[in-house]
């Protein structure tokens, strides 16, 4: 009923290539953007910003980066955490070497460093695929985290061995560091994530996106329709690592405020991979759904029992969280291997058909 498409005629290929061929999708997105830009900032408190809204956006962005590589181009990667680290350390060096540099420019530039590193570690993909490639990216994961620990220049020889984000202002407002307010950080993250998501959607629906998907589905056939496998794979590594790097810079500068090398270790890689898989590989929407699930679940588990008069110890909450997320991942993979995004696609299809079954 709400999704009835009757009366929406497409009279040109331009209309057919629109982002939302169904008008209701555009309304839905407008509603979500309204929530994100107006309603949430007006109603949320400091805790909600720091524990839910900002991390959801940052994790969704990291998962989007991974999804471009794994879901679209079919190259499995286990090094996401380390590439986020490259973005974060690059941003840290940029703002300390060039203190006058605008923070947002520094964050966008830091992505290029992780893109370069990503391409370098993507070179094995030209010869190996599948699990073997995953092991090669795992090598990147271990090597880079080791480098973050041992190369003191990266963290400006801090005695703590970690990076501490100084207070950085953009146009007079403190955006990063101890004096920044959560709402300002949220808005900066929201705008960056929204813009990158829009650009990523554009890439994935055009020539380059088709090229990646062709390589994913059958690389030999892709080569025989004239796709240069080297270009396709390395461009996927570059774009993916750029987005992951920007997510890493946001992760440290606009959310956590400090980071030690171990923060970028393999649990972070797995976390982002879970988000991408639960959300749905090969979809942009799925990254957001997966991030909402993975980030919101611990918060719900820790606050819900207390609010109904069942206070749990923090250790208990942590164990419960691990168990429930593990069970959910298995459940989702059995019920819908294509993730939450496919759930939504099925619901939407049913709504369009409603009240008829077919």
């Amino acid at each position: 009923m709400l999704y009835r498409t009757a009366g929406q005629f497409k009279t040109s290929y331009r209309a057919d290539h629109a982002l939302f061929p169904v008008r209701q999708d555009a309304w839905l997105l407008a509603f979500i953007l309204l929530l994100a830009f107006v309603v949430f900032p007006m109603t949320a408190n400091e805790f909600v910003f720091r524990a839910l809204l900002t991390p959801v956006l940052i994790y969704a962005l990291a998962a989007l980066g991974l999804n471009i590589l794994t879901g679209y181009a079919g190259q499995l990667s286990l090094g996401t955490g380390a590439f986020m680290g490259v973005g974060a350390y690059a941003c840290y060096k940029l703002v300390t070497i060039f203190p006058d540099l605008n923070l947002i420019v520094a964050i966008m530039l830091s992505g290029f460093f992780s893109a370069a590193i990503g391409v370098a570690f993507g070179l094995p993909s030209l010869r190996i695929k599948g699990f073997y490639l995953a092991i090669a990216t795992l090598a990147a994961q271990f090597f880079l985290v080791w480098l973050f620990e041992k190369w003191a220049w990266l963290y400006n020889y801090n005695s703590s061995g970690s990076i501490q984000v100084p207070t950085i202002s953009v146009f007079g407002h403190p955006v990063a560091g101890p004096n920044a307010t959560a709402i300002v950080q949220y808005y900066v993250v929201l705008v960056i994530v929204a813009v990158i998501t829009w650009l990523a959607i554009n890439i994935t629906r055009g020539r380059i996106g088709r090229m990646w998907k062709a390589v994913r589905d059958m690389d030999i056939a892709a080569e025989l329709v004239g796709i240069n496998l080297m270009k396709a794979k390395l461009s996927a590594f570059a774009v993916s690592s750029y987005i992951v790097g920007v997510a890493g810079a946001l992760f440290v500068f606009l959310w956590r405020g400090a980071a030690e090398p171990v923060a970028f270790d393999i649990p972070l890689s797995f976390r982002v991979l879970f988000i991408a898989i639960i959300g749905g590989l090969g979809s942009v929407l799925g990254n957001y759904l997966g991030a909402i699930l993975i980030v919101a679940l611990p918060v719900i588990i820790s606050t819900l029992p207390a609010s109904v008069g069942l206070p749990l110890s923090s250790a208990m909450v942590e164990h419960l969280n691990t168990m429930i997320i593990g069970a959910l991942i298995i459940l989702f993979l059995i019920v819908e291997p294509h993730g939450l995004a496919r759930f939504w696609a099925i619901i939407r299809e049913k709504l369009i058909m409603w009240p008829f079954p077919h």
């Binding site: 331009r14 290539h17 554009n202 055009g206 088709r210 062709a214 589905d217 025989l224 329709v225 004239g226």
Partner: protein, 271 residues
């Protein structure tokens, strides 16, 4: 129509057609296995050239050599005046050689439309920056190519499956989508590896009609491998016959049909 239909055959008989490709003394082996031994033949512009032979004769290996997937140990290939031995398959596509596969090799997760659009990747030029912006040149290019793809979709009568993921399509339609993807590359030479394998009579007739139409209307030169002798003899202008990696006959269908070496290769000889 009948006069147009007869024309290329007449040309072939006179042996006067302009040369499109020439295979010169090509030999290919994998270790000790000789797949192709010293084979030479040519393909003329505008003809339908069949490559036939019993199983394991080296037909598919020959196509793989032509489109650069295999590099022959000896010999060379002249295509539109360029001589080469080794090349990357995506360069072959750029030069105008497209092909389909014996086992359907489509991009299963993508829709029919996207599969055929992927065939036009080489013809699309807009770089990453314009792709990101989308509106403007990239969209204009996308629409321009969409129009060409829709022509192919109309031609192959697959409008109804435009949005269907090809993995869900029946085999006969998949073969047709694969032909569409090859046509989208606007090749001057189209290689078809058993386009009718596993099809029923009706599907074979449809596919034959498309192959003739591609050849006559679009002027595409076709080299095809096929086991259905009725189809081969009716469709092709000239036939080259391989057996155990060697060429045993080459000529118009009628001559090949009555060639003793060909009959022996297919029926076997008493020793």
């Amino acid at each position: 129509m009948s006069s147009r239909l007869a024309e290329p055959i007449a040309v072939a008989e006179q042996g006067a057609g302009e040369m499109l490709m020439e295979v010169r003394n090509v030999s290919l082996s994998f270790g000790g296995v000789k797949a192709i031994t010293d084979i030479s033949f040519d393909i003329r512009k505008g003809e339908i050239r069949a490559i036939i032979g019993p199983n394991g004769a080296g037909k598919t290996s020959m196509l793989n050599v032509i489109n650069g997937f295999y590099t022959p140990q000896k010999g060379e290939i002249v295509f539109r005046g360029n001589t080469r031995r080794a090349m990357k398959p995506h360069h072959a596509v750029r030069q105008g050689i497209a092909r389909t596969f014996q086992n359907v090799a489509l991009f299963k997760g993508m829709s029919t439309l996207d599969n055929i659009m992927a065939g036009r990747s080489v013809l699309m030029k807009r770089n990453l920056f314009w792709q990101m912006v989308w509106h403007g040149p990239a969209l204009a290019e996308e629409i321009e190519h969409r129009e060409k793809v829709e022509e192919i979709i109309d031609f192959l009568e697959i409008q109804h499956i435009r949005r269907t993921p090809v993995g869900k399509l029946p085999y006969g339609l998949q073969k047709r989508v694969e032909l569409g993807r090859a046509l989208a590359m606007e090749p001057s030479l189209l290689l078809l590896d058993e386009p009718m394998a596993g099809m029923n009579l009706e599907e074979k007739e449809d596919m034959s009609r498309y192959i003739i139409d591609v050849n006559r209307q679009r002027g595409t030169t076709i080299a095809l491998i096929e086991h259905d002798m009725g189809v081969v003899m009716d469709l092709s202008d000239r036939v080259v016959v391989l057996d155990y990696g060697k060429k045993i006959a080459d000529g118009v269908p009628d001559a090949v049909k009555s060639n003793q070496a060909v009959i022996d290769a297919y029926l076997g000889v008493a020793h």
